[in-house]
Each structure stands twice: as structure tokens, then as C-alpha cells.
Subunit: 595 residues, 2 copies
Amino acid sequence: MPAEGPRQRGQSCPCPGVQTKLPVLRWLPRYSLAWLQLDLIAGLTVGLTVVPQALAYAEVAGLPLQYGLYSSFMGCFVYCFLGTAKDVTLGPTAIMSLLVSSYAFHEPVYAILLAFLSGCIQLAMGLLHLGFLLDFISCPVIKGFTSAASITISFNQVKNILGLQGIPRQFFLQVYETLRRIGDTRAGDAVLGLACLAALAGLRAMKSHLPQTARTEPLAARVSYLIVWTSATARNALVVLFAGLVAYSFQVMGSQPFMLTGSIPQGLPAFRLPCFSMTAPNGTIPFRSMVEDMGVGLAVVPLMGLLETVAIAKAFASQNDYRIDPNQELLAMGFANILGSFVSSYPITGSFGRTAVNAQSGVCTPAGGLVTGALVLLSLAYLTSLFYYIPKAALAAVIISAVVPMFDAGIFRMLWRVKRLDLVPLCVTFLLCFWEVQYGIVAGVLVSGVLLLYSIARPPIKVLEGDVLLVQPQSSLHFPAIECLRDTVCNRALAASPPRFVILDCSHISSIDYTVVVGLAELLQELRKRGLSLAFCSLQDPVLQVLLSADLEGFQHFPSREEAERCRGAEPGGGGAAPLASTSESSLLPAGLIQ
Amino acid sequence: MPAEGPRQRGQSCPCPGVQTKLPVLRWLPRYSLAWLQLDLIAGLTVGLTVVPQALAYAEVAGLPLQYGLYSSFMGCFVYCFLGTAKDVTLGPTAIMSLLVSSYAFHEPVYAILLAFLSGCIQLAMGLLHLGFLLDFISCPVIKGFTSAASITISFNQVKNILGLQGIPRQFFLQVYETLRRIGDTRAGDAVLGLACLAALAGLRAMKSHLPQTARTEPLAARVSYLIVWTSATARNALVVLFAGLVAYSFQVMGSQPFMLTGSIPQGLPAFRLPCFSMTAPNGTIPFRSMVEDMGVGLAVVPLMGLLETVAIAKAFASQNDYRIDPNQELLAMGFANILGSFVSSYPITGSFGRTAVNAQSGVCTPAGGLVTGALVLLSLAYLTSLFYYIPKAALAAVIISAVVPMFDAGIFRMLWRVKRLDLVPLCVTFLLCFWEVQYGIVAGVLVSGVLLLYSIARPPIKVLEGDVLLVQPQSSLHFPAIECLRDTVCNRALAASPPRFVILDCSHISSIDYTVVVGLAELLQELRKRGLSLAFCSLQDPVLQVLLSADLEGFQHFPSREEAERCRGAEPGGGGAAPLASTSESSLLPAGLIQ
């Protein structure tokens, strides 16, 4: 997969379009037994995680429980064929469920229609190649998001470990309630949960300290190595199964110290178009008024879904360093939601927790999704009776051990050392994510955008004082920067008496826009008024073309700084290499008012 | 004034703070009789324009007519002391009146409170030095705004020239209605209006073709020159007075072929705090609920006022090339609105039309505002009876002849020649301004911002193929650009077989952020995985510091391109100048998940 990474991006793709639009073709031919084994384990583990999560999230969304499961398989299937990130798993998530609850009015019909429309919008974005927007999610923002999410998600599971019920979803209320009711902890759940956590931690440690085996070693060693390795990699599945057995045996003995997943309504959803109208007690609600009811939700849901997916995909892509194709991700999301709506799914997106579980279990290709999806379908059809016995504490342990490593305390120290300014978007995102993840990400992106624009509006300008004043902008000039440059030049040039000959070294300027041209024209005029002359030097070709096409009055340019200094005697506004156009002045002034 | 220009900006101001905060101190000491003469003429002309405009705009704002005049003098006084642009005149405007009408519910109390609160908000922005935001209004946006405004404002006056009444304000409706009812044209108004237009055009032409006089010429010549010059400069006032006399004589003769300004209620407004509550038929409305009623208006009104003023100030500043201090403009606006609210003014801002008249009349300092303000006060106190006779057609002619020159058809050709991409913000602004000026400006700013961000996300990258691959970004690297750079390097490096030694020439990179550092770290890893090595060369010092502080694994750098090429044999990831930090990998990966 990594090898393919760099070839997956739009503008620079040497491989046929089919492979780009259908990433499955890229890994399927190279699919091996080793991969299959890992994908099976991962898919199974994620499957065992998604089923109870789906039920929980359906509750959050205010829908009947089975809708959680209906939303959990189509995403996996679609993503397997269209997705470009091996770890990402689409499905119901906490944030999306919250949004759905506020836009679907606890009505499955609304939720399904919302999924359909969101899918269409995301698909449109993908087809319009708006994926480059992804580049504007900077690393500190992703860091802040992942770190905060790991804390919220894992704390969200603490209540299951302690066997507490009726804890609110909002993070701060959750913390308060959990601490307040710490006394009500159920011994059974706590013991099991902590045991599972310990087991998972131990198995992971074991895996990371596993020595490499050489072919030279005796068979026994290699076999035992394989066993340890497998159990360590499949640890999530193992722990869940083990906990399930324990719970079952207690059940058989007639006592039950654990909170169990409980019974799940059985049967597959029908495959049909979503309803575009709804029969309410007081007559049918037409499509138009349903859309009006959802209102802003039709913008928020698809965008948030996108933001979450791409942020997660980006994070995991660079963890396991492969590259994702943003536009392809949009398409996958879109199709997943549209097809999902055909099987009564509510809007889905990339799940942070399950994607982490997936990666932790060492998934190799999106094929893992097939296993997950199949497991969900099976569970809907037959296995609900088995899932009944899964203790919630065990699943909580799986999720916690998956997301805790996402928290990276080092990043704060790192940014302090490398680039302090980047601490601002990091902290903004990190802190706001505890309030609402979507606000955190959006605010982070905005803050880093503002910092970016500011650095463009105030580029570093090197000034060498002397009998000749040499001014050298250290980067390209964009329109917000020209005022600042004009001020620098004017103030420095007029500070000295007699005013000096000014040389503008443009070696670092690769492109300029019209506003900059106008600013330079005004600068030339302003200096000439004061009997000063300004010479340009080391102009890159495109910049020179633009300046010549604008025929600035009194524009002189020289190939190098030295030659410019040599001609410092030249009378102000004197010809130099530039044509003197008497019209240029009036045609260049911003307001163009001179008559 | 121009000489002072460059010294007026915040960050680079060598002159004492008092002069910056009180610009009047900058020009008052140098005030001369010649200036006084011109300021008098300009102030008078603007005064004669503002009075009837104020009445018209008060009607637009849905307030009793006298409130238009109450809003017309305080702005002039305040700006005279605090303003940094000699041409700008603050007062009621069409756009602001429209906004007021939608947020003040035809209630003076609301309008005045709105003015007070808007002033406070603008003052706060000024004190927080948010003036640099002004730099993000690019030249094409100003061009589009001024050109569109000149068309709408002048067409808005056509109805007065034709003597049509009851024409809607919205531009397109206005055009439709005016054309539909062209038959109802009143001969008297049309004749007078066109005559005034012709006279104004003639006088302007005369002025622009006026030859310079030398001391050597005979007195007669110099005197006649002075007469011609004065009448040409004071043409607006002359035309209005002349038209007034004509209308008066007709009145005396008992027939009136013209639409007159009509009678204006007399008397000065009281100077008192605005009311913070309102007595309605059904009990008093408290401050809080008044604020709630105005709601979003409290954001829209101050911001639009600001946007308009700064756009206009910027346009005229660069027409008559002097510089404005954005933050000072905010302060002036804020004080003008706050003090205005003490004399029952509704929110005011820079008036495009009157500012043009002011500039056309050759105003030299903001002192012109004192005359205008005084004239308004006088008119309120005594002169309303005289203004009665001013024909609307004559004032329409003055405004039209002032704003028509603002339309600059050349800009389209100019941008096509110099920088085609800038035609996009220009056209967006220009076209949308016909719908709603505020939408036009906002959309234009957004579009140019998007283009700016895109050019940063996709910087020009020069690639020299050879047995060594040399990659040179042409401008600084900001976080949105790193993905693009990574792809370019990877694709080019892997395209060749055997893969090549890569040199990244950083001579044009003046600063990098953490995201870029991470991207480079991943790039190093990616290339090393494929047995390639990447060397950095010509690093600027700050950039080198950042890269060293991040201790990238396998980071090698060389002072020059040649030295880098010399060492191309170096084994991939080999030490070079960089410390090999085994921790760096995990601490640098965005998701930081590697355990």
C-alpha cells in the first residue's frame, strides 16, 4: 500500500484512472494469505466492537436500536472498494449520532433521508475535486483533535468499566457525574474491565518486545513465536471472547455480576429507496417541507462527516505512512451514505475508535471491512443471541486501550521547541474539542488560516542600510503584503539625509498580482516625487513579464545587485531598461480617478 | 499631506503618538490661505450636496426627514480632527440607510441606539489594532466596487434629472421602472438637469486644459486665469446656486417647472445621551430586549460602515496619493458614531458620492468638513427656507458628474494584459455590487482570499532532472503546500530507474511551520524506505534552526548546491550534518500513534 501512496493524488497520477477511482484494483492483485489472516482478525475485532457501539449510538441518535446495526455494514462494504486508507472504517459515530438526533427528530424516515441527501452532497464535492481543501487542515489541528478525542472517547467508556448507568454524553457533565457517582461502582464490571485493560496492555507490550525470529532457529521456537504473535495481534478479539465466556458461565450458574450488551432485535433491513415523504398522524409531510425541517443540517451533517473522515484518514495515513486521495475519500463517503440510505442507515462517517482498533489489530487492506460488514449482517441475522453475553466492560477496555495511545503529550513540548506559534491552533483545537469536536476542528482550521494569512501579509523583509538602500523581500509578494513593503521602503529611504538610491532585490519573488504592481507603481511615483529613484534587480522571468506588461513609469531593472549599484548615478525616473509610458500613471492608480 | 503619508502607519511611525492619534496636528500648523480658499469652496459644495441627500436618505431609513440632517454634521466635525484622509466625508449614505431601515423598525430611538453601539464596536476594533484587515481588500475588489458604485449612484440620480417620482431603490427595478416610465419625463427638470450636466462637464474640461501661467505674463492674463480657475473648481457650488436662482425666479413668476428640494423642518437637535430604553404603547422596552431586537444588525452595521469607509478612503488616498492609517480611520468612525448618537444621528459612514464631490472640488484638508458641518447646522437653524428652491435635477447633475469618472473601463483591459486571474475578484465584485454593494465587497474579498490561499497551497516548484534530482520551491513553504511538494518529489524521484539522489534547494524558503517539518520528516522516511537519500541545501538560517531543533532522522544539509552534489555518494540516511535521533520518528508522525 505505501508504495502506491504517492501515485494516488489527482494532479500527479501516472496510473490509469480506473485504479484511481476503484482503489480496490490496486491491492487486490497483490492480495496474500498473510494479509488475509490479519484482515480476518482485524475485521472480526472491529466487528465485535461495532455491534454494541452501533446499539449505543442508535440510542444517542434517538432511533430504534436496530438502526445502529443497519448503519454499520454498508459503509464497510463500500469503503472496501472505494476507500484509499486501509485503516478507516465507516459507520455510526458519537458525533454524527448527536447531529442526527438534532436534525432527524427521532424519526427514522428523516434520518434515512438525511443520509441520502448528505451522500449526494459529499459525492458532488468529490466530483468537483474539492479535496484539496484537506490540505488546509494543519498538523497541529489534527494533533489537537486526536489528543482530545482520545481523552473524551476513553473517558466515555469509563462508565461502562465502573458499571455506572445513566451518565450524560456531554464531556464535562460526564466527568462530573462519573466522579459524583464513583461510589455506585459495580465490583464485577470494575474487576472485569480492569482485568481486560491489564490483559490488553500486557499483550501489546509483549508484541512490541517480541524479538525477530530467524529461519535458523528450531521449529519449536518459531511455532511458539507464531502463537504469541497471533494472540498478541488478535488480543482485542481474544479478550472480548474470553469475557463473553466468563459472563456466559456466570449466567449458567444463575448469577450475573456484569452489565451485558443485552438482546438485539433480529433480521436484515429491506433494500429499497429511502422515502421522500412521510405519513404523519396529521396527513403526509411532502419532500420539500421535510428538507425545510432539516434545514442547516443538510450543510452541517455532510461537512462534519467529511471533516471527521478526512482528519482521521489523514492521521492514520501518516501513522502507517501511506497517502490518501482526498477526492476519492469524498466519493467513498458519498456512495457509502447513499447506498447506506437504501438499507435504512442513518448518516455515517469515519469512526475514530474503531479505526484505531482496526489499525491496532494490524489490518492490511480495506478488505477487513468485508469481514466487519459480514459479521454485522450475520449478527443481525443469527448471532444476536451470542452477542447478548458480551460484557460492556470488556468492550470498554478494548476501546480505551485502542484510543489511549492516540494522546500525545510530547507534541506540546515538541511545538514549544520547534515552532511556538503553532501551539495556538493546537491548544484552540485541543480545548474546544472537549466542548464539541466539530467546533474544535473548525476553530483550529480557522486559527491556523488566520496565522497563515498574517504571515503572508507581513513577510520578512531584509534591509541593508548603506549609501545605497537595499530592500529584499524574503518571500513572494501577495497583495496583503504590499502596503507593508511600501512603508518599509519609504520610511527607510526618507529616514536618511540625503535620501538614498533604493534597490529592490526581487530574487525571492516568484509571482506578483495586480495589487502589488499598483503598489510598486505608486512607490515609484512617491519616491520620484522626493527625488529618489528605485531600481529593481534579480527579477525572475514571470515577474519581469508582469511588470513590463504594466509599463510602470520610470521602471528600471538590472540582472544583478552589482549592476544596479553601478548605475546609482542614473537620474530619478530615468529610462533604464523600461519604456516610459505616459498613460501608465492614470491607468494604474487603484481608484483610476485621474482625468 | 502626501509627505506625511508614509509616517502615518502603526508599526513604523517615527512621529510622536499624539500626532498619530490626532492627525489634525499634522496639517494645522502648515495651514495656508490657499488651502482655506479651496476648503471653503469644497466644504460649501459638499454642504449643498449633503443637505438634500440627507433628507432623501432619511426617507430611505424610514425616519422623519430631519434625522437625515441630524446625522450629517457631527461626522464632519469629528473626522476633521481624527481623520487621516482629506477627501473622506462621513454622513448618511444609501447603503447605511437601507441597513438602518431594516434594523431600526422606523423608530428614531432604535436608530440612535444602533449608532451608539456601532460606534462603540468600531472604536473597540480601532483600539485592538484590527486595521491591518484592510490590507486584505485587494485592488481588483476596490476597482470593482468603485466602478459598480459609480454606475448605481449615477443611475440612482437619473430619476431626478427626468423628474420621475416613486422609483424603487433596488438597482434593477430602478432601471426597469425608469425605462418603463421614460415617457413621463418632465421637460423642465430634464432641460435643467442636462444643462447642468453640460455646464459641469464643460467647466471640468476647461480646468483640465487650463495652461500654466507664469509670473512674466501681464496682470490681466493672471487675473482672468484666476477667475476661470476658481469658477472651474467651484463649479458644483456655482451650478447649484445658479439653478436655485432660476427656480426662484420661476417661483416668483408663479410657475414652477422643476422638482424642488422642498421645505425642511427647522431647529437644531438637543445634545444628550441616547435613550437606553423606549416607551412603547404597551409599556417600556428595556435595553436588553432592544439589543435583542437589533440582533445581527449590531454586527452588520458597524462592519459595513467600516468596510465602506476604508474602501473609499483607500481608493481616494491612492488617487491623490497620500496614505491613510487604517486603525486611525476606525477610531474616527467610532467617535463619529458615538458623538453622533448624542445629537440624534443614525449610523453614518464614508459617503462615496460626497467624497467624490469633495475631491473634485479640490479640498486640501479635512477642514472642509468644518464648513460642511457648519452649513448643515446653519441650514437646520435658519437656511432651510433657501434650500427650498434647490432643484433636485441640479443636485443630481452634481452627483452624476462627480461619480461618473469613477467608472474605469480600462481596468478590464489592464488586468487582461497584466494578470488575468485578478479578473475573477474584479468581476465578482463588480457584478454583485449591482445587487447589493455589501455583498459585492464581501464576495470579492472572499474570492481574492481563496485565490491567495490556493496560490499558497500550490507554490511554483522548479525541478531540474538529471542523474541528481534537484527540487527548488520558488517561495516559502506554508502548511497547505507540503503535500504537493511531497508528491512532486516522490513521483519525480521514483519515476527514474534507478531512483535518484534528491537535493532540495531551500534558497527561497524563508520560514516553515511544524506541519512542513513533519511533512519533510515523512518525506525523508519515505525516500529512505526506497533506498534514496535526500539532502537539503542553501538553507536560510531561521529555517535551519527549526529543522535542527526537530532533529529529523537522516537530515543532511549543505551550504550550497554544488557541495550537496559532490556528496551524492553518501549512503541514504547517512549522518551528514544531522544528529540521528531515534526518538524523532515517533514524535514527529502527525498521529503520534507509533508505540
